[in-house]
């Protein structure tokens, strides 16, 4: 009966036995098959793979309270194309085209029960309390008050459940093992991951922490109850790396940080030092730019000349009171990229040298990023009427739900679909993000490219040989202006492309920041008019029927572009943005499903898009 015995022991661990010293379960010695062989589809010039690494399940406290009924195993099955229960009174969830990689990243604070009651992402639990408090039955309202008092009084202390490391260990171990179970090298890649959910004064500093493999994974994750200071997280990550783990962190939703995410000072208010910059970049090479809670590329207030800046803005801090942030600076990546080179120019390193991805942040196991297949962030939104009208009795929170985007996708250029290859791509920032479609973007920079280099089928190989891919640094200029190769192809099942743009940011000799947008490829043979204005691509969307045609736009762009304004003495960066033709927003598909008019307070159509990681130039 060895089985029953070990189960009783593990049962005791689960039940919270704190004094059991003989059950050190170490997941670091789990057998790891060394996959050195190349898998099918290996390509030294790299393939594009699409996936999500920011997914919550019922193991996240707010996933659970918002009625998610599925766990990590269901999440991986969903990403592989199987249908899973959606809960919330709606149907099953199924993706149209399976993903290449996926990582469940539940909140490390999953046992931080009382803390999470204050979590704005869990409006439902809040409202339940409110319901009790307003109850005509004095016993009920008193009890609710006592509950609140208790939660409040323990807010500063460590949560009781959290102190039980054995529970955290066993759940984390299960999450790591589930990732292994569903990993199929060459076909489908999984990563162990968790989210560190620091939220000081409702300002979002969240990071997803992704492990490159299951070797030497720490036995418990680091939560914001350990520290809310990102430097403490990086410290923990550095130590984990010393212990043999492979990991990186991905910050997200600077738009909900009220300027704190890309603040020009550290946690203590001191200016950023070169050591801070180095530590930050060693630990978090990429930033999640587009997800359900909005796109944080830039804001019209920051980029008044960018006619496409106003895209899926989710303009709230993480408070159930639906407060608006007041600081734009520090809240968007384009501005941070500029601040980064400015800090570097001042001799303190570049703390914001980020590559980019898109991701989901769904709390329903399923990253339903397809506009015509969106099933909400939480399970309580698993019915179109709940998404559109709101699942909650409170209009403020309903508006937040309605303004959710369908989320984005992470794109990586990797040799093969394996943990090592995809993780390395993220590490060297050869990544791109999309607002949810599978359009692909490549971006190379160098000084020796010419138009002939892209005229034959082997152009990608040439591009790698004669320059550097996105995420990298241009070498010394030697009197030349840099030339870039820009490539984009539409999603084969999706919408055509409107245009490709190069977005350049630089700091001039007097220390002033500049940004400029170059429209480098336009579909349908469009050219700017005499005033330099580009005619819009048009709009084929039939709003009532939530449909569009590909009669406008192009299938792909492949061009070279040389920066005519380059100055070898200026710090600068370049990234590519590719826009699709207008298509219906998820809310327009839902309106059609319900047979009602689209809401006037939401855009009926959107131009989905993709962003490359930047290429940087540093004066020698």
């Amino acid at each position: 009966m060895k089985l029953a015995y070990s189960l009783i022991i593990s049962g005791l661990i689960m039940a919270g036995c704190g004094s059991d010293k003989n059950n050190e379960q170490n997941n670091t010695d789990s057998e790891q098959v060394n996959v050195q062989e190349r898998t099918e589809g290996y390509n030294e010039d790299r393939n594009a793979y699409f996936g999500n690494v920011h997914i919550h399940t019922s193991y996240s406290f707010d996933g659970y309270t918002n009625k998610c009924i599925t766990g990590p195993a269901d999440a991986y099955r969903w990403a592989k194309g199987e249908s899973i229960p959606g809960g919330g009174g709606g149907g099953d969830l199924k993706i149209k085209v399976p993903l290449d990689f996926y990582a469940v990243s539940d909140h490390a604070e999953w046992l931080g029960v009382f803390k999470m009651m204050e979590d704005p992402e869990s409006p439902l639990s809040k409202l339940e309390i409110a319901k009790y408090i307003t109850s005509p039955d004095p016993a009920v309202s008193f009890k609710a008050f006592a509950d609140l008092l208790y939660a409040h009084s323990t807010g500063g202390a460590i949560d009781p459940a959290l102190s039980d490391t054995n529970i955290i260990k066993s759940i984390w171990k299960e999450i790591v093992e589930t990732a292994d179970t569903y990993y199929e090298p060459g076909k489908f890649t999984t990563f162990p991951a968790f989210e560190w959910s620091s939220n000081p004064n409702t300002r979002n500093l969240h990071r997803v922490v992704v492990f490159g493999n299951t070797e030497n994974v720490p036995s418990i994750p680091f939560s914001s109850h350990d520290s809310e200071d990102p430097e403490a997280l990086w410290d923990w990550m550095d130590q984990s790396r010393q212990n043999g783990a492979t990991l990186l962190a991905i910050p997200h939703n600077a738009n909900a940080s009220d300027g704190l995410m890309f603040s020009l000072t550290n946690w203590n208010g001191d200016p950023i030092s070169s050591q801070y910059s180095e530590t930050r970049m060693r630990n978090e090479p990429i930033y999640e730019m587009s997800q359900i809670k909005g796109t944080s590329e830039t804001h019209p207030d920051l980029s008044p000349n960018d006619e496409f800046a106003n895209f899926e803005q989710w303009d709230y801090t993480l408070a159930a009171t639906a407060d608006r942030p007041t600081h734009r600076e520090g809240s968007f990546i384009r501005k941070a990229l500029m601040d980064g080179i400015q800090i570097q120019k001042q001799g303190n390193g570049n703390p914001f040298k980020y590559g980019v991805i898109g991701d989901s942040d769904s709390h329903n196991s399923a990253a339903s990023v397809e506009e015509d297949n969106y099933t909400g962030k939480f399970a309580i939104e698993n019915k179109p009427e709940h998404r559109l009208n709101g699942p909650l009795p409170d209009e403020k929170n309903n508006r937040q739900v309605r303004e959710f985007s369908s989320g984005g996708l992470a794109g990586v250029w990797a040799e093969e679909n394996t943990r090592e290859s995809i993780f390395n791509a993220m590490h060297r920032k050869e990544t791109f993000g999309t607002s949810g479609t599978r359009l692909k973007i490549r971006f190379f920079g160098g000084y020796n490219y010419d138009a002939a280099d892209i005229s034959n089928d082997g152009w990608v190989h040439t591009a790698y040989e004669k320059g550097i891919p996105m995420g990298g640094d241009l070498p010394a200029a030697n009197g030349k202006n840099p030339t870039f190769i820009i490539y984009a192809i539409k999603e084969s099942n999706g919408a055509n492309l409107d245009r490709a743009q190069v977005i350049k940011g630089w700091v001039d000799d007097s220390g002033k920041q500049h940004e400029k947008i170059f429209n480098v490829a336009l579909s349908d043979n469009r050219v700017p008019n005499a005033k330099g204005i580009i005619p819009p691509v048009g709009n084929t969307v039939d709003i009532k029927n939530a449909s569009y045609t590909n009669d406008i736009g192009d299938v792909e762009f492949l061009i070279t572009w040389t920066d005519p304004e380059f100055s070898a003495s200026q710090y600068c960066f370049y990234y590519v943005r590719v826009l699709e033709i207008p298509t219906p927003r998820w809310s327009t598909y839902d309106a059609k499903t319900l047979g009602i008019d689209v809401r006037k307070d939401l855009p009926a159509t959107i131009q989905e898009r993709g962003w490359s990681s930047p290429i940087w130039y540093t004066p020698q």
């Binding site: 066993s170 036995s219 350990d226 599978r438 192809i489 084969s492």
Partner: protein, 279 residues
């Protein structure tokens, strides 16, 4: 007996008894108003600190952590005394989740044998479908370059070698032993579906894709089929365990439900009927 021991429900009851007995022993001589700080408490706090920070806490740090522990224990016990744990949605969910973890762990440790897996494989064969595999050449005609890519493709079909015709696109002309699922990613689902109707060994009529129009020459085609059991055994095992887990969970709830009488004290209404139907 063998069958009985393999039954997770049996173990579940056994474990329940074990946990009860353990706590009975543990709590026998503990009075309610005593908070003991002994080596096991220090060990647990130290161990947690070590796990997080990769070093032992200093004496000072340990002492302040113990103070946190005491404060928390006091509040926790008071809360229990005030019955604050009762009817707390959060605690209820957490406890229910713990039960689910125990039941999941149980199922995971019951090793299915070969015959279980084979039977599962046969019964759910559609999951183990292998897509058709093609070796083909595709020639692309762009809607962006021609008024009618379809007409240009039709014209190209009349030429001596259609391979020399067509427009440029950044996708391979030649695909060597590639699955229909991968082709669907490059060209769209409708194109991959259309391949199935194209005869092998001759140029196709024009075919539409998500990118434009194509002429296709299929050299080799391996028909759609099923992955043999040996090739997908691991996956079958995962699927089997997954389904057994779901089954066991609902079985467990049903058997536990037997211990309770559910009284629906709601006047005759739609909601009453709906609830009764579910029970």
């Amino acid at each position: 007996m063998g069958k009985f021991i393999k039954e997770p429900l049996f173990h579940f009851i056994l474990i329940g008894a074990g946990i009860f007995f353990f706590y009975f022993l543990l709590n026998k001589d503990k009075s309610g108003d005593e908070i003991v700080i002994d080596n096991s408490v220090l060990y647990e706090i130290t161990e947690k600190y070590q796990m997080q920070w990769n070093r032992k806490p200093t004496t000072e740090e340990l002492a302040s952590l113990v103070q946190v522990y005491i404060d928390q224990e006091v509040l926790y016990r008071e809360a229990l005394a005030m019955n604050l744990d009762h009817n707390d949605e959060v605690i209820k969910r957490r406890m229910a989740q713990k039960m689910e973890f125990i039941s999941d762990e149980l199922v995971a440790t019951v090793e299915p044998d070969q015959s279980d897996l084979l039977a599962y494989y046969e019964k759910n064969k559609s999951i183990y479908k292998k897509p058709a595999v093609y070796t083909l050449t595709q020639i692309y005609f762009s809607n962006d370059l021609h008024q009618s890519a379809w007409d240009v493709a039709s014209h190209a079909l009349q030429q001596a070698d259609p391979r020399l015709e067509g427009d440029r696109i950044s996708l391979p002309k030649k695909y060597d032993k590639v699955g229909a699922d991968k082709l669907a990613l490059d060209f769209g689902s409708s194109f991959a579906a259309a391949l199935d109707t194209i005869p092998v060994g001759e140029w196709s009529d024009p075919v539409r894709s998500g990118l434009g129009v194509h002429l296709v020459y299929i050299e080799l085609k391996e028909l759609e089929g099923f992955f043999p059991f040996d090739q997908v055994k691991e996956k079958v095992k995962n699927d089997f365990n997954y389904e057994e887990g779901l089954k066991f969970r609902s079985k467990l709830i049903k058997s536990l439900l037997g211990k309770y009488k559910i009284e629906v004290q709601i006047p005759e209404s739609d909601i009453r009927n709906a609830i009764l139907e579910n029970i």
